[in-house]
């Protein structure tokens, strides 16, 4: 005889409810606590690194703000004078552009000077083909000497 669905549901539910719990292998708790302790041990180290990185970033940002604030403060009067004049902003822009062009020109000049110094230093050296020829002659002489040395030792 077929049972009604509700009664079967109840039987299934009670069968599942009566299922026994399994116990993990011995030492499970110890392994979990060790895992927790390992995480705890790692955390202070990570925290120190993060704190140090945070301090460096903060100090660097503070230094930048301080320097920028000093520059702004020292040039505040000039900037204010420029701004309040007619076409002051345009003149300020022109001034900044002129400064940038000057810095660029100085950079180009420094690079050209460095290039000249290096060329002058290189001029004192022999030409590359002379160095290569000397190296080849030296290598040939060393090879000849070592070969004759080996032959002489065999004869002895």
């Amino acid at each position: 005889m077929n049972m009604d669905a509700g009664k079967t549901d109840k039987l299934i539910a009670s069968a599942i409810a009566a299922l026994p719990y399994s116990r993990p292998a011995a030492g499970f708790s110890a392994r979990v606590m060790a895992g927790i302790a390992a995480g705890e041990a790692r955390q202070p180290w990570q925290a120190s690194v993060l704190k140090a990185a945070g301090l460096i970033v903060t100090a660097w940002a503070a230094a930048l703000v301080f320097v920028a604030a000093g520059l702004v403060y020292s040039n505040l009067a000039d900037m204010a004078a420029l701004v309040i004049q007619p076409d002051g902003l345009a003149r300020a822009f022109n001034l900044v552009a002129a400064h940038a062009a000057l810095v660029l020109a100085k950079t180009v000049a420094v690079l050209a000077l460095a290039s000249d110094i290096m060329s002058a230093a290189a001029a004192g050296l022999p030409a590359w083909y002379e160095i290569a020829a000397a190296a080849a002659v030296c290598a040939a002489a060393l090879a000849a000497l070592s070969t004759s040395g080996r032959l002489a030792s065999r004869r002895i």
């Binding site: 005889m1 509700g6 549901d9 039987l11 409810a17 009566a18 719990y21 895992g35 927790i36």
Partner: protein
């Protein structure tokens, strides 16, 4: 949540790590059994249970005491088991299950068959279900959770939980009936 359990959680939150050993003692069998019935491998179940406890300890500050501690812990265990199933390339999604369509509705099984639902038989039936079905049955009947609590554990809407529970029960009935028919054929 029992008073003792509340105290253990509170002590853990206050920085007394040794109190977690008490929580472990209360829940280790439950969480391990839950994982074992989903993963069907003792080593994988132990790994998942261990991961769940370690994660629970680390995330204890995020636990909201307004809800049951057990459902919070089971949610972490559920996530660990699903990760383990995915890592083992086992199908977790219900989209591609290879179950036949259920007769609608499945009637009750024969009395003689229903009477034979012992622990061994129900374990085998649970093991034959996809993990997403067996877990709702385990949470509902073994852990005595309601649909709302199960929904929090598995992170699915309450309606989905009810649908899965219904379908899981129907699948068990189908399998019971199929088993009884096979037995009758053998005897005949």
């Amino acid at each position: 949540m029992g008073e003792n359990e509340t105290d253990l959680v509170r002590r853990c939150l206050e920085g007394d790590n040794s109190a977690f050993a008490g929580i472990l003692e209360i829940y280790q069998d439950k969480i391990y059994s839950f994982a074992l019935r989903l993963l069907r491998d003792p080593v994988a179940a132990e790994d998942a249970a261990q991961e769940a406890f370690v994660k629970a300890f680390r995330g204890l500050s995020s636990y909201n005491p307004a809800y049951q501690f057990s459902s919070w812990l089971f949610r972490i265990a559920h996530n660990a088991c699903m990760d383990a199933l995915r890592a083992g390339n086992k199908t977790v999604s219900l989209d591609h299950e290879d179950f036949p369509d259920l007769p609608d509705p499945v009637r009750g099984v024969a009395e003689s068959v229903a009477d034979s639902i012992d622990a061994e038989r129900i374990e085998a039936l649970l093991a034959s279900l996809p993990p997403l079905y067996s877990e709702v049955l385990l949470l509902a009947y073994r852990e005595d959770m309601g649909p709302a609590e199960i929904a929090r554990v598995i992170g699915a809407p309450e309606g989905t939980v009810k649908a899965r529970l219904f379908r899981a029960r129907e699948l068990i009935k189908v399998k019971l009936a199929a088993g009884a028919a096979a037995d009758a054929t053998v005897q005949g």
